[in-house]
Subunit: 255 residues, 2 copies
Amino acid sequence: AHRRFEALHREQAWDGDPERFGAAAAVLAGDLCLAWSAEVLATATGALPAARREAGRRVYDRMCTQLMGGQYLDVLTQARPAGTPEQSVERARRVIRFKTVHYTVEHPLHLGARLAGGPDELVTALSFYAAAVGEAFQLRDDVLGVFGDPQVTGKPSGDDLREGKRTVLLALAHRSATPSQREVLDTLVGSPGLDPDGISRLREIITTTGALAEVETMIDQLADQAHDSARSAPLVHPAGDMLADLVGTATRRVA
Amino acid sequence: AHRRFEALHREQAWDGDPERFGAAAAVLAGDLCLAWSAEVLATATGALPAARREAGRRVYDRMCTQLMGGQYLDVLTQARPAGTPEQSVERARRVIRFKTVHYTVEHPLHLGARLAGGPDELVTALSFYAAAVGEAFQLRDDVLGVFGDPQVTGKPSGDDLREGKRTVLLALAHRSATPSQREVLDTLVGSPGLDPDGISRLREIITTTGALAEVETMIDQLADQAHDSARSAPLVHPAGDMLADLVGTATRRVA
């Protein structure tokens, strides 16, 4: 959105800085969507019994608070020194929990469950499912951010590497790197001018250190857990099958 | 908020651009407050009859949408060419209606009225009051933005002039300026390096063109209208007196 508003500013040759205009307009568009989402929830659930509406609203409120916290945690993790590889892995996984697990998977499932009058046991089971599939999904996204085909992912090649995104994949590569590999990682990761040659070198390090294989193993294990959770959750048929199928979609190698 | 987060980033010597970190963190803090305000409204009104809660929520939703629209209108008005002085005055007044009148005065009053089960006639009367006191308040704020004492207003001297804020006051000065005065306005208003001498010259032009007196007259007339509206609104004693008193607070010469 900010790029579109920035382009509009340039086309019209308006006063001031196009980039600032784009950012301001995009923030407002985002705020509008945030406000509208609450309005849509309130109006769409108007016909439900008050207790269910209220339970749904509580999930929604918690989701909003955790979303902002998770986004800030992401920004903060990006800014703070990387720390030891163990700290990096732990911090990257914490960001995944708050950003991806809670916001993208767990709360939307809880919202539906609560609006449908689902019991606490179901909500708990959905949390187990969400923790596993959410982390697996994010780890797959991190792998695609380094190895993915831009034609398929829609993101420029090596984008995460250029941005210096603090992922589990990179933290693991750092941990197992030789001193000379570590030097290459420190120099090239997060470098705005990273070129295709640099991306190839980084990909090779991430592969030869075993980091890629380690993350693939984590994804497989988490996908299995998610499958099991979906199958054993006290869900009405065919909801369990649908959640199990979703695991495949969320973690497949080519997005 | 963005300055505080920016300073934190600098103090800690974190990675990346302190200014971008500050902006990102402040946007998230704002979003958190936006989400919390809806949550506070929903939980604080939990004990009210459903119809009143619902009527209050509808006001709140409209307020959020109009706030974002008003803010965007402000950003847009700032960016677009000033147009003729008549267009400038009209656009500045439109921004006032959306940003200050609706958001700062009218919707908060409607919210209280609806939560208290107030009738449509009261809501209409409060709109008349809000339109007058809201515009008067903003015009006073614009005058203080040019002539105010930084010690009292808390804003740097001549801040609106440096920013090139498109106020009714400046549009009127432009309309009545001589060609040489207009040249000074065009050169100095919105100039980031505007110094105390430049501020003095602009203040003199705004005064000698009669723009200041014209705005003071508008404020007086609007304050009178607001007073009358407060007195004649179907309000329970002493609510009418309180709203009438608020007119003085909102429009007094030294803020």
